[in-house]
């Protein structure tokens, strides 16, 4: 098992190298930070110092190698667009803000998706099944930013027009320490609903398909023939099997949620990783962009590994050796 984990991590290293090099190169050639510097009114000495600090006069592969050399030592470099703060600290701070949305969203999504998927599979062709199918079609078809803006219009404008109050905040983050419990919750609700709809829609569809396949399997018939109650048949024998393929989906979704929701954070002015990434990209801040990308990549690798290990726990047919 330990050997498996080590081997898995080792095999992702080439992919990580290629991926970071790709993003590094693309970011580097997408914009010219020197042109931006030239627009600023800085003296020649400061200009030269900046070029020297970020190796801007060197070819891209060489810059990548020096970035990588520092990065593997834990030094992600300073972020010029954020006043020279350390990228590592910036990413970490913003990651915590993102996690405030991602963690509750993930659990709400997982629970609702499994519930909806299982119910609609068990009650195939019932009204509820059609409702869930319709819901997931809507969720898949509704771009996050349209849904988020719609929530803002409903709760920020219409609700205020009708009832003279706003039940939820439509902009910005609130913390318990600074604003108290109630305001913290009021600020979290809409972004979490936004994240919830789109991901739940696709996950519940997937869960439904997985559950349908399981329900029609021979071993479910065996379980019924044993005289087990319906609940036991569906939850113990059915769901246990239907969750196995969902583990991978969960891992990817959770990793991407923790990696920052660019759209949701933009709409609700949430100071998370997604907006940090956008800032890095728009201001051609290579260190910052790379910092966020490496963080996302690391999340995906780690969560995929967790998913693989969970697979082994859930499915005895899989062995790691």
């Amino acid at each position: 098992m330990f050997a498996y984990v080590v081997r898995r991590v080792l095999t992702t290293i080439p992919l990580l190298l290629i991926g970071t090099f790709l993003v590094f190169t693309l970011t580097a050639i997408s914009g010219d930070p020197l042109a931006r510097l030239a627009q600023l009114d800085v003296d020649q000495a400061a200009y030269d110092r900046l070029i020297d600090l970020y190796n801007l006069d060197q070819p891209i592969p060489q810059r990548y190698v020096s970035w990588l050399t520092s990065a593997v030592q834990g030094d992600m470099g300073p972020s010029p667009s954020q006043g020279g703060q350390q990228t590592f600290d910036l990413v970490l701070g913003r990651a915590l803000n993102t996690a405030r949305l991602a963690i509750p969203a993930f659990f709400i999504i997982a629970i609702t998706a499994v519930t909806l998927g299982v119910y609609s599979a068990v009650k195939q062709y019932s009204k509820l099944d059609y409702f869930v199918t319709g819901f997931s079609f809507l969720g898949i078809s509704l771009p996050t930013f349209v849904f988020g803006l719609l929530l803002q219009v409903i709760f920020g404008i219409w609700w205020f027009d009708w009832f003279g109050a706003r039940p939820f905040f439509v902009q910005g983050m609130r913390t318990v320490a600074q604003h108290g419990w109630l305001d913290m919750v009021r600020a979290h609700v809409l972004p979490i609903i936004t994240l919830w709809l789109v991901i739940t829609a696709s996950e519940s569809r997937f869960q439904r398909a997985a559950m349908l396949e399981v329900i029609n399997s021979d071993y479910i018939r065996t379980a019924r023939a044993k005289g087990l109650p319906r609940r036991t048949v569906i939850l113990k024998h059915g769901l246990r099997n239907a969750l196995i393929p969902l583990v991978t989906i969960w891992a990817i979704d959770f990793a991407l949620l923790l990696g920052g929701a660019v759209v949701t954070e933009t709409i609700f002015a949430w100071p998370g990783l997604g907006r940090l990434l956008l800032a890095g990209i728009f201001q051609q801040d290579l260190n910052l962009t790379m910092g966020v990308v490496v963080f996302i990549a690391a999340l995906v690798v780690v969560f995929n590994l967790i998913a693989d290990l969970l697979y082994g726990v859930l499915d005895p047919r899989i062995r790691y050796d």
Partner: protein, 329 residues
């Protein structure tokens, strides 16, 4: 024994002959098989496919929502094509006497901050968005099918590379790459379409690869191979027609994915830039005024949802019609 009913072989019902010889009794001498003849026989399957087309249409027609979706999609496309042409305004034409107005008779959707008619911009935006999405779907399907077919049929290096690429896109999400490159190359409709096309094809390639992997071991392929048909002929004449259903379904669904991605990028100001309108950048322009003029956000948003909903329902209906084995229940 003489009076008993005797059944002579020639009196046996039709369809009887030849069957007994395969189960027991004497096996007839194998006829000489002409490879081309065998291939022609295999292609005789096409004669049956006319009734397959009929069945497909019947199944599709039964899927009422998909049919409605197809009609709505057609009407929307028509509106996007004809709308800007019928409108008295050009999509980048400014009217400085009517800045930032709400809906009125002259401007049913209102005007934007620099006096452009939002209605004509919405229809023109829909036209650009749809054009981009169609371009993406076609580009993606062509690249994805070719790579997937080669990877599935031959396996080996290309297959391994495809696998690595898919894993790579998992580690570095496509959206991140799109954001990084979109800033510079995504500003025009063709630019964004090319970017999306180059990033989305692995999804199709994976599906086609799976289908080829599955079909290449099937008997009609083995028979064609035994008859001496070459790989390209087997791939494109024998296997590809069988993968047609799933490919068409996924190409359709890709239109929806492309619309969502394009509008999302435009919304984040990474995609198509003003003055060229797309449904996404219209919303991006209007979101600052969402408090005072929510209609400018909701109308293009509604069009995006209408298109993606129709495309997804259409794709679902096509899946039922073209690929009846794909779904259970």
């Amino acid at each position: 024994m003489t009076d008993r009913e005797v059944t002579h072989p020639e009196e046996r019902p039709p369809g009887y002959e030849g069957r007994s010889s395969t189960v027991g009794g004497e096996v007839p001498e194998t006829e000489h098989l002409d490879p081309e003849h065998v291939i022609d026989e295999l292609e005789g399957i096409e004669a049956v496919s006319r009734s397959f087309g009929r069945q497909t249409w019947d199944r599709f027609r039964r899927h009422r929502i998909a049919l409605i979706a197809a009609v709505v999609l057609f009407l929307l496309t028509l509106a996007f094509v004809v709308g800007p042409w019928l409108s008295p305004y050009g999509f980048s034409e400014q009217d400085f006497t009517a800045l930032n107005q709400g809906p009125s008779l002259a401007h049913p959707f209102g005007t934007d901050t620099i006096g452009r008619d939002i209605m004509v911009r919405t229809f023109q935006g829909g036209r650009f968005s749809l054009r981009i999405a169609l371009f993406v779907a076609i580009l993606t399907t062509v690249i994805g099918t070719i790579v997937g077919a080669i990877a599935g049929y031959f396996g080996g290096t290309i297959d391994a590379l495809l696998n690595k690429l898919i894993n790579l896109f998992l580690i570095v999400p496509a959206l991140v790459i799109l954001l990084v490159v979109g800033v510079r190359w995504g500003a025009t409709p063709n630019g964004i379409a090319l970017l999306l096309g180059f990033l989305l094809w692995p999804a199709i390639a994976r599906i086609v690869r799976g289908l080829f992997l599955q079909y290449k071991e099937q008997e009609f392929v083995l028979a064609a191979r035994a008859a001496g048909a070459r790989a390209p002929r087997i791939m494109f004449r024998h296997i590809l027609p069988n993968t047609f259903g799933p490919i068409v379904v996924n190409a359709t669904l890709l239109v929806g994915v492309a619309i969502i991605l394009e509008s999302t990028l435009s919304f984040l100001s990474v995609g198509v830039q003003d003055p060229v309108p797309t449904l996404g950048n219209l919303i991006e322009k209007a979101k600052g005024q969402i408090d005072t003029k929510p209609s400018a956000v909701l109308i293009p948003g509604g069009f995006i949802v209408a298109i993606t909903l129709c495309v997804n329902f259409l794709g679902d209906g096509l899946r039922d019609a073209l690929d009846p084995t794909a779904r259970k229940g």
